[in-house]
């Protein structure tokens, strides 16, 4: 315990007084702090007569091999990709071309794995505060307290879009982004797909879900199938309506564009991770006259969606959608936690501005992770 707590306190103090003081020795090698023991930090401080240098590392046979020759009188080098708990030897040869002489220094360091990444202390504190707030509001909601959640028109319109598709006898198109299942945006999209599939099952409207990745296909099929079961319409579930198109980005776009032009869906949903193809998809959908709802966590794609879609879910709205649609008090409670997070960020930004103006750089350094 002492081995963990003492370095933590020392690190906090070092951050507080303005970072690690550089070594005064001409050449030093130290284990990179707070890492997984795979890097060594080298630092040197040469006399002004030196004009070039060669930084070398001893290989397994003990022969020094050059790893860098970038010259600076006072400088540093981070040797990464090393083995943990191993000793490494370095040599710095500094030359003076005018006098045709050189001087060499040697140093060694042993890499050590650490039990806590101190650069992430601020992140841990922030995460604990935000998660704490989310949990507090979840329990608050569990006790039956009413929580005010602002209206999200993009989600309120979902029923309208499904209703329109039902009236016109045309299908609904749902694209769960072009990222794989490892992306939280895809998970958020699948959560929304569940609610959409439930409604489409109730209304008896055809639902088309083209997928870019097989894993997403598998998860989407399961999600829709369960929703149809939940709606009491397992007979209406058609597996072939949730299908794989291609892994290729623009091949997928061509496929989905073709579906929009041929099938003419009355409502298009583009929810998940999108990149360069976002405008190609939504402009094609706009051309077919469908009601379009889009949402992504990619800030660069949001302007494209805003221009060509009827409703856009911006930033956290994509992640909040499932909770919002479910009307489950516990899930709605978590959305209040997001609001606390926003308040915290506002306070931190304002504090940061004030501290920087007051010349207290340690605050920014601490929040940024000591970098």
């Amino acid at each position: 315990m002492k081995r963990i707590v003492l370095p933590l306190l020392l690190a906090l103090l070092s951050v507080g007084i303005g970072g690690v003081v550089p070594s005064a020795a001409p050449f030093s090698a130290e284990d990179a702090p707070w890492d997984d023991g795979t890097a060594v930090v080298l630092a040197w401080n040469l006399d002004p007569l030196r004009t070039s240098l060669s930084l070398q590392k001893a290989d397994s046979l003990g022969i020094f091999q050059e790893i860098s020759n970038e010259f600076a009188l006072t400088g540093g080098y981070k040797d990464s990709g090393l083995e943990a708990d191993a000793e490494y030897r370095y040599r710095l040869v500094a030359y003076n071309k005018d006098r045709s002489d050189s001087v060499s220094f040697t140093a060694h360091a042993t890499t050590r794995q650490q039990w806590f990444s101190m650069q992430k202390l601020s992140l841990l504190i922030l995460l604990a505060m935000i998660c704490g707030a989310i949990l507090y509001y979840i329990f608050h909601a569990r006790r039956g307290k009413n929580l005010f959640i602002r209206r999200i028109s993009g989600l309120d319109s979902m029923e309208e879009a499904i209703g329109r598709a039902t009236e016109k006898g045309k299908p609904i198109l749902f694209v769960p982004g072009i990222s794989d299942l490892g992306d939280i945006q895809t998970i958020a999209a699948l959560n929304i797909l569940n609610h959409l599939a439930l409604k489409s099952a109730e209304y008896g409207t055809e639902l088309l879900v083209p997928c870019r990745f097989s894993m997403v296909l598998s998860a989407a099929r399961e999600t829709v199938k369960e929703a149809y079961l939940q709606a009491g319409r397992p007979d209406a579930y058609r597996e072939e309506k949730i299908f794989y198109v291609t892994d290729d980005q623009f091949g997928f776009v061509a496929g989905v564009d073709g579906i929009m032009l041929r099938e003419q869906p009355a409502a298009n949903f583009f929810l998940g991770a999108f990149w360069a193809e976002s405008l190609i998809l939504t402009e094609t959908g706009f051309g077919t006259g469908a009601i379009q709802t889009a949402g992504t966590g990619q800030p660069h794609q949001i302007p494209f969606f805003v221009v060509s879609c009827d409703y856009t879910l911006i930033g956290e709205e994509l992640y909040a959608a499932s909770a919002y649609l479910s009307r489950d008090p516990q899930q709605l409670g978590s959305l209040k936690g997001h609001d606390f997070g926003k308040l915290l960020v506002i306070i931190l930004v304002l504090t940061g501005i004030v501290m920087e103006m007051a010349g207290q750089g340690w605050f920014k350094q601490f929040i940024a992770g000591g970098n």
């Binding site: 997984d36 023991g37 943990a84 794995q113 650490q114 039990w115 806590f116 992430k120 992140l123 841990l124 935000i130 998660c131 989310i134 979840i138 794989d180 490892g182 998970i187 958020a188 699948l190 569940n194 439930l198 997928c211 990745f213 097989s214 894993m215 296909l217 399961e222 999600t223 369960e226 929703a227 939940q230 299908f243 794989y244 290729d248 623009f250 091949g251 073709g258 405008l279 190609i280 402009e283 966590g297 800030p299 660069h300 494209f304 221009v307 911006i314 930033g315 956290e316 992640y319 499932s322 909770a323 479910s326 899930q331 978590s334 959305l335 936690g337 997001h338 997070g341 926003k342 960020v345």
Partner: protein
């Protein structure tokens, strides 16, 4: 059990990854990489599922002579062609069943698989991407129609930024003295992009990050289970 097991797996994996993010020491430090490798292994098995879905969907449409069945047939032929060429003569430096196919490669300039990839697939892909230019023009036209104060502001800003990125902007505003340099269009463009634009983008990023935290927490705790098909 069918519902609980995935919830337990999600809880354990989520919690482990969360902890591993703060502990660089083994085995935590390598946990994320290990789980990512597992994901890739499972994904590679799932590719087969995707191919089966693709073949099933296309064969059914061709067999039933669905509207536009010719497109689906073209898709099947292309798919089969690439598989056959890849198997027979391989791709790039990888040999196929019949070796490297030196004779064919001499005539085509490359292996059949690579030839189709470079001269059919890549141009088709680039064509799709290039459509973006036309769609940006049509979307921009709609966005910049002046309807109210906001759209007016948007149009003025867009004109400044678009002009500011050209040499013409330097030419027409270079006479402005340095004391009023911010009014020179290239500098004004840089200001708009660096401050108001970055601030707005970061606001969205922060809000999305908060959404990710909330969403992840709901999934880890099993409160959010719509991705498993809903249910309590």
């Amino acid at each position: 059990m069918k519902k609980n097991l995935p919830l337990i797996v999600a809880f354990a994996s989520g919690l482990l990854i969360l902890i591993a993010g703060f502990i660089p020491h083994k085995p935590f430090g390598m946990l994320e990489e290990t789980l990512t490798n597992w994901f890739m292994i499972i994904s590679s098995f799932a590719i087969l599922l995707g191919q089966i879905s693709l073949i099933q969907a296309n064969v059914t449409r061709v067999a039933h002579r669905s509207p536009n069945w010719q497109y689906y047939l073209a898709g099947l032929i292309s798919f089969a062609g690439m598989v056959v060429f890849g198997l027979l003569w391989g791709m790039e430096k990888t040999p196929g069943i019949l070796g490297h196919g030196e004779g064919i490669s001499q005539n085509l300039g490359s292996k059949p698989f690579d030839y189709i990839f470079d001269y059919i697939y890549m141009p088709l892909s680039a064509t799709m991407f290039s459509l973006l230019a036309f769609y940006i023009a049509s979307a921009a036209y709609r966005a910049f129609i002046i309807r109210n104060f906001e759209s007016n502001l948007l149009m003025i800003t867009a004109v400044i930024v678009m002009l500011g990125r050209t040499s013409f902007a330097t030419w027409i505003t270079s006479w402005i003295p340095d004391s009023w340099g911010i009014l020179q269009l290239p500098r004004l463009t840089d200001f708009i992009m660096q401050y108001p634009n970055t601030a707005a983008q970061r606001a969205i990023l922060i809000s999305a990050a908060l959404g990710v935290v909330g969403s992840s927490l709901r999934i880890i705790l099993g409160i959010e289970r719509s991705y498993l098909g809903g249910g309590k």
